[in-house]
């Protein structure tokens, strides 16, 4: 969407949207709350809270178990939620697996691949079997959730873990990727949008490069699915992971996307009830996806609530959400970059970034920055944001991150920047 230059962020913000989020209408330390931590967890609209409650009040029963009318109702709600989420990300329902969270989704793939390397799964699992000659590729900017599972898989299989290096601003490009991805590469995992820098990865180019070398691709889409229109089929990725609580939905549920034939071939890392066709005392055979992965009782009311969150986002329109957040991102960069003595991490002005900004205030630790903002009613995230290697690469241990979402106003960004400008003075650090 191209914006009229006179359009402001708040012109894009639906006027009534704040009323949908009771959480936002509260005080923090005597100030109106400015919630700028949605990249960590988003707040939920009343409709999502109501949907979960309505399901529990009227439709709650075990899903995929038994044959009663009640089970029919709950199972229908559960599977309709899957269809809703699948449509939202350009997938078929069999390509959407419920998990505990996005971290769990990534682990599901890594652990399944370790099982394949250990000999589990049939010949169809061959595509997942790694050995000593193989390489797994990630980036230096990964969230720990998309790094440690691959470290473990490499350790278990003898494969080598390699990483795409990042530049001084935390970004990387397709040439950097091409310097690492090659004929030995069997698997590539990377974040679509960095939770630290807001950098947007060149997904299409990396997918093409990886596939040319016969490697599979997993996309950590935690910071992209909530914020922009996503179609996994057209992105061409083989797997993807995202989390409900970052997209106006509940905690306790995440999503693993996988291309159908790959999910059907991936050994299930967690096994148990509801995943099987036939069980003997010696062995079990498994259902196709998604049931093969959904062992034990599932997060049913959470799935229903996530589907409601998706409907809420659909009503706003993801093109609109993305346009609004692009304007917020621009405002965040403009406002923070002009504060003396503040180092803004990530892509500079004019380069695409998500609506989040991590900053370093030299001489003041991020925890102290965050505490100062907190005292003014501004909620941000401080620390390494589960990306220690990236912070180390940038010469930092911790940063202060402000992140926006559909309900964020320009006033909140201004308040963040104004408070940030006072930090060095408060802590007596010369500018």
């Amino acid at each position: 969407m191209t914006l009229d230059p006179t359009t402001t962020v708040d012109d894009l913000l639906p006027t009534a949207i704040r009323e949908d989020f009771p959480y936002l209408d509260q005080e923090l330390n005597g100030h109106p709350l400015a919630y700028l931590d949605s990249a960590a967890t988003a707040q939920r609209p009343i409709a999502v809270l109501d949907a979960e409650r309505a399901y529990l009040e009227h439709s709650n029963a075990a899903v995929h178990r038994g044959a009663s009318t009640l089970v029919g109702t709950s199972t229908t709600a559960f599977e309709e939620a899957r269809e809703t989420v699948a449509r939202f990300v350009g997938a078929g329902p069999r390509e959407i697996v419920w998990t505990a969270n996005a971290t769990d989704a990534i682990n599901m793939v890594a652990l399944g691949m370790a099982d394949a390397a250990a000999g589990l799964g049939g010949p169809e699992a061959g595509v997942f079997r790694l050995g000593a000659d193989d390489e797994i590729v990630v980036t230096e900017a990964e969230h720990h959730a998309d790094l440690i599972p691959w470290q473990r898989l490499a350790a278990k299989t003898g494969a080598t873990l390699r990483w795409i290096p990042v530049h001084d601003d935390g970004t990387w490009n397709i040439d950097d990727a091409a310097s690492v991805i090659g004929p030995r590469t069997r698997f590539v995992a990377f974040g679509h949008v960095s939770n630290v820098t807001g950098f947007v990865a060149p997904v299409g180019d990396v997918v093409e490069l990886a596939h040319r070398h016969g490697a599979l691709v997993l996309l950590d889409a935690c910071q992209s699915v909530p914020h922009r229109p996503i179609d996994f089929a057209s992105l061409g990725v083989d797997f993807a992971a995202f989390s409900a609580h970052k997209m106006l939905g509940p905690t306790g549920i995440g999503v693993l996307y996988g291309r159908e034939h790959l999910l059907d071939a991936l050994p299930p890392a967690r096994t148990g009830g509801s995943t099987i066709t036939t069980v003997t005392m010696e062995s079990a055979s498994f259902l196709p996806s998604p049931q093969r992965f959904e062992a034990g009782t599932q997060p049913v009311s959470q799935a229903v609530a996530l589907a409601e969150a998706v409907r809420y986002l659909d009503t706003l329109g993801m093109e609109q959400v993305h346009a609004q957040e692009s304007a917020l991102a621009e405002l965040l960069v403009d406002e923070t970059a002009r504060i003396p003595g503040i180092r803004l991490i990530g892509p500079g002005a004019g380069i695409e970034r998500a609506a989040l900004a991590s900053v370093d205030v030299p001489g003041v630790h991020a925890h102290d920055v965050g505490q100062f903002l907190d005292s003014q009613g501004i909620a941000v995230r401080v620390g390494h944001h589960c990306a220690q290697p990236l912070h180390r690469r940038l010469g930092l241990r911790a940063t202060t991150r402000a992140s926006a979402y559909v309900y964020t106003t320009s006033d909140e960004i201004h308040r963040f920047a104004a408070a940030l400008a006072e930090v060095r003075g408060f802590f007596g650090v010369d500018a």
Binding site: N29, H365, A366, H367, D368, S375, G383, R397, F427, G428
Partner: protein, 166 residues
């Protein structure tokens, strides 16, 4: 602004800049590295005992962290240097119980002196571990020195533990 000055008392901000004890000891009798994994704050502390092995003659530390954790290490250095090990253990105990107080009650000024400035930190549950970092390191140093030198092991060793949620 809310009562942020209750957290960042002038004495704490001063200590965070002065960093008493900042620097490695040449030949420490015991050292300990302590890390808060949630925030990455860390400290490496070394202690030096006197010839009798019962008095804490010198403390040296290197660290990286927020103003609360660094100020706490500095205040600790001022308070514990020159104290006998029984007193050091008592200081650690008293500081810990103050940090567990959630801001309630009166801090023990007689024992802790200026370090009672950290009483206000105990109300901020997410910052208690920052204030405790150096004290946990000191406790471990004293325990290690005592284990290798029976003369210094006169007092009971307090419960060891990480600095988180304590």
């Amino acid at each position: 602004m809310s009562d942020l000055s209750g957290l960042y008392q002038e004495l704490i901000l001063d200590h965070s800049r002065r960093r008493l004890g900042d620097g490695e000891l040449a030949e420490p009798h015991a050292t300990h590295h302590e890390l808060n994994p949630t925030c990455g704050d860390e400290i490496t502390m070394g202690i030096h005992l006197d010839a009798s092995g019962t008095v804490l003659e010198a403390i040296g530390w290197t660290g990286d962290g927020c103003s609360i954790s660094m100020a706490s290490a500095s205040a600790l250095t001022e308070l514990a240097t020159g104290a006998d090990l029984d007193r050091v253990r008592a200081l650690v105990d008293e500081f810990r119980s103050m940090m567990r107080s959630k801001g309630a009650g009166e801090a023990n000024e007689e024992l802790l002196g200026d370090a009672i400035a950290f009483h206000g930190v105990s109300k901020y549950v997410m910052r208690v571990k920052c204030a405790m970092l150096a004290w946990v390191a000191l406790e471990a140093c004293v325990a290690a020195a005592s284990a290798s030198n029976p003369a210094s092991a006169t007092g009971a060793i307090t419960d060891r533990g990480d600095s988180s949620a304590r």
